[in-house]
Point group: D3
Chain length 254, copies 6
């Protein structure tokens, strides 16, 4: 089984972190490949950056389809482009917010979320609502550390995240979801410090994607998620379409 | 007052239809400018196409900011890129699904929606939920006419839309929202045939954008919708940022 | 275009404030007329007073219908009698809570409300639920200044309202709605002090009513909001019915 | 114990029907008094009529307070003036829609409603939402018999109601609520015909009001439902206030 | 009329407290019988204990059916086994959380709950959601006194409950529901101290059960709550079935 | 890794079916053990039977704790005893309705459920609400085949299930969940016939339980799901407690 974990931003170091977190939980016989898009922002902390990250993410999915990838993980907590990716993929596509919420929902009655910047909490609530978990989320708290500073010890990210997680638990949550792919490698340590289950979405999405493949399940293709109708596209990913031969032009057209 | 109505697809004829519908309801002294993006799909009937339409839409908003535009209308019923556009604009940004829902909500207790393809109804429901109107929407029906066939008399679009509107009214709705910018010029005729208020989102968004400007109101900028943090972007709209000088590189970088 | 703004209480000074706020935002060519009912309470701060205000409000709408008014604004934040007024009017009828919520909903993800007395907050939440905005309202806070003391500088209303608005913004709202028609003229000043968009319902309702008239839209009349069936009424407004001649007896019968 | 059942319309024959239904279920030692207001519409089938019925209803509650009534029933399925009545009464006030919903909710998982005219179904849904029962209501169906024709055998009301009740049960409801005070005396017969519990709101409200009095419970008076603040009222019920001596002027002032 | 109040735990002293509270509010002519099951936990403060309490509770209901009981009260705030009891009873079955919520809902707009241990608050919220009252519950607070310590003056239960009730009122509730059958006899005193209506579920359930019997209403038997299909059961209550003769084997089989 | 799949009814043939379905999807190195309780009903088709199944289920979980089981699956679509089992287990416990809903939620926007008897659909909706999926469930349909007849070819179960699944897809679902453990082995065939993803809860629960173990996650134990407080229990499972030595008395006491 081959699972492609797409880091939707263009920071290769972050792709590597994500890849290690995914590989650490994948079952025997599963190949995890973490990829970086060729276009998009260095990190995603706004709706604007999320929007600009989607074409590069879709390019990686389209390439994966040509190469026989079985399932995809969208490794940014805003789950950018998830619906679009589901239309062009044949196997499952899982977002890390989606996966983190699903895993946490099975660990008790309610859970909280600790994310990076406060400006992203609205999107986290929106996704919780979309996936059905709004009534299960106690709160979404921000540690106010920028995505690319998470792995800089000088940022104090670990301590700040632990502090916010403790506040979440004090508020009645049975578990906590970490709200950024860049927090993946901090998860075990934070969990030990906090004393409740702490969920990293990257790891959760990897095992859930594997699970769906093992169950023989993929996105339903009879309605909303059927392949997009063939149609001229100017500029972006113009040559791509999953029903086209693998030698189609790839990427940003002139 | 200057309102830019952005058609997020690249079909110029549709931009013209949209522009006429917007201009017809704008108040005296309001300049309506309908624009077409330089990249993206010919029409938007899937999540994939919606995602690919957003960069071109954002380019038009970024250009508008340099030119002193007062407010923006996103003229596709999926309201693509609305949150992102709100981050980079100083004045109001209104989506046509958003506007259609708001207008219809003031005309009775509940309303229904008639859209193009059934595969887009999920997105319409999602937007209704997002804006708060889920409990006010009786149903979303599709006439199964493709976007670019709406103005082709051979498609029978007008009759099919009237039929679906009648079904919506029979189901208990006080009003109907037409779910595609391409239906703008059919609205008056459909309303006469059906006998209840029928709302075209393009016209509604135009007057609502005007209204907000007149009230001196724009997107709140203290939190989620503050301008995105400055950051390297590879490829797409790399040179753009509303806080940058007007001579910045525009569009798709190499 | 002729818009009648009905102050549902009997305090003429307040009608004048409301009239100025409405006229200040109306477009060129729109006549705004603010009216005071002939019966009802001096101000509205309870369900009891709201109920007693409705007949006088409906009298003004019924008179307006005889005089060719195009649209109505119900200028009390409890939106009293809105459904009843919609049944007897041919054009749009907009409540100021309704309008304030609609405008604020287009300015970000969520908004808060600052009202007069805490005892009115339940009604504000009920209206938010009714119009669909319950999930968008962060909180409703009270400044505990009585309606008729709002324009008395000795009440400290302005400072208290600013303080509550700041608390609302600290709670994560992108915008604030002022919850009383008597706050209309404080709105601009409060907005400057607070730094986020602050919405006055009277102004918002005026431009929204204008917008609907411009769009050719009014309340759907095919179901719940059809004119009430002709029927004997004892006492109150006994002679009124919008489908009756203009010389019908008006007001409170013996 | 003394329970006043207020028929909010002015049709005395209907008050008598309501009084019989209430008296039939009241416990030993409970005095049920059914009263008719001095002003208002002959029946209530619209928001307009509901609004005009409220002052007369409040007059009966205010009189009851002077006479030592222990609890009130508002005997119209729109529960008009319920919040206002709660402010001016010291004991419990129960609406018949409220009571019917509460009783039915204890008889299974979900219930349906059969009412008179389709134009009143929106209000029934609104009340269900307000009281918390929206998710428990399967549907609200109308038999399209006018309120004052219900007891006219020629109207076929009984058969039409049975038919709609059967449709409700086929739709998965465990019980049915009859949506008009004028259906009170048909309830037993309809229940026998349909084979599931059928609830008459008048009877249900009477026993629930009794129950609350027996438990020593009344409306909470610490916040929203405190007595309305003393204040000039022009015209309607101007002399009334529950904190005033019993010889206060009653009713409609000049 | 004969109402069986089942204390689902095996502590006889608590059954006696519950029986006194129920008898104190029952109407003339109503026989209240409080019973203790033959198996189960000494008190119920976890899901595990709730599950183990249900067979003993169902045994008491099955016995009651053989003896002609008219209605049942399930006297534990988790309402354990309520759906199962409704299937095997012919008359109404009311849980005390259910009854407390219904009573409180008629006393204002919103209410709060004060319960024993914090670990039971999740269940209280779940029941509120199930019965429709989620949006009416302001909060569920715990006094952290164990069930069997409530009547021990040394536990300070009364003072702690008063304190939590005051916090509930400060949070905007119009009434408070006490969240444990063991609090029944503290209710009047707490209510006096707090100044808002305080509801004891045992008393409320008793009068509501009486009310439904008086209305001739019981659980709907046409669908979900029809008697369970005859079927072999190993061990627990193996001989019981309400459609079997009264001499059937009762209780726990070998 | 050792996963215990508990069939909560006492029919051994059904345990074998369930065990095969679970083993078929478990990863390499995972031991699946399907067990049958020593007490309870032969199948579960009512709330009464569900309640009587829980003690036997809890006995199997308690035994598993003594034997070092890593995770549990509750293999009945009503997810009986799930909360109680989570309190006494150290590792994850997953219900098959829960698992089926989670898996289906990742396959599109909305899904439907096909279950056995219509009387169980209320419980399915209740569980969907509890887990957060109410807004994602299009409908729950029943094929009206009894649980123990599902594997009898004469029942026509396969054809009836296919027919109901097709109706679910026609209603707009992207996927279908089969609502009974007894349908596990029909799943692949049904999926092929229907053409959309069809989810068997037993298989889904098995891989999800494995996934959580692999992620190092279990139920949060800081609040609601802490081990139940030590306490006398009469009769049922009296000797069990997960914090007690392995030689404790097991099962139904005299």
């Amino acid at each position: 089984m081959r699972i492609r974990v797409v880091n939707p931003n263009t920071t290769v170091a972050m792709t590597e972190t994500i890849g290690r977190a995914a590989a650490a939980v994948a079952g025997p016989g599963t190949l995890v490949e973490a990829v970086t898009p060729t276009m998009g922002p260095a990190s995603i902390e706004s709706h604007y950056e999320e929007a600009l990250a989607v074409p590069g993410l879709l390019e990686q999915v389209a390439l994966g389809e040509q190469e026989g990838v079985d399932a995809y993980v969208v490794a940014c907590f805003g789950d950018p482009g998830l619906d679009a990716a589901r239309e062009i993929a044949t196997g499952p596509v899982i977002g890390i917010a989606e996966a983190g919420f699903h895993a946490a929902a099975m660990l008790g009655r309610r859970f909280g979320v600790v994310t990076t910047l406060a400006r992203t909490t609205g999107r986290a609530h929106e996704l919780a609502e979309r996936y059905g978990f709004a009534s299960l989320v106690t709160e979404v708290r921000a540690c106010e550390v920028a995505v690319l500073a998470l792995d800089d010890p000088a940022s104090g990210a670990r301590e700040l995240i632990v502090e916010e997680c403790r506040a979440v638990v004090a508020g009645g949550a049975d578990a906590v979801v970490l709200g950024c792919a860049g927090m993946a490698e901090l998860c075990a340590e934070v969990s030990r410090a906090v004393g409740v289950p702490v969920v990293d979405g990257v790891a959760a999405a990897t095992v859930l994607a594997e699970s769906l493949v093992r169950l023989g399940l993929g996105t339903g293709k009879c309605g909303e998620y059927a392949p997009p109708p063939p149609k001229p596209v100017t500029g972006l990913l113009a040559g791509f379409r999953r029903d086209q031969p693998a030698d189609a032009t790839i990427g940003v057209a002139a």
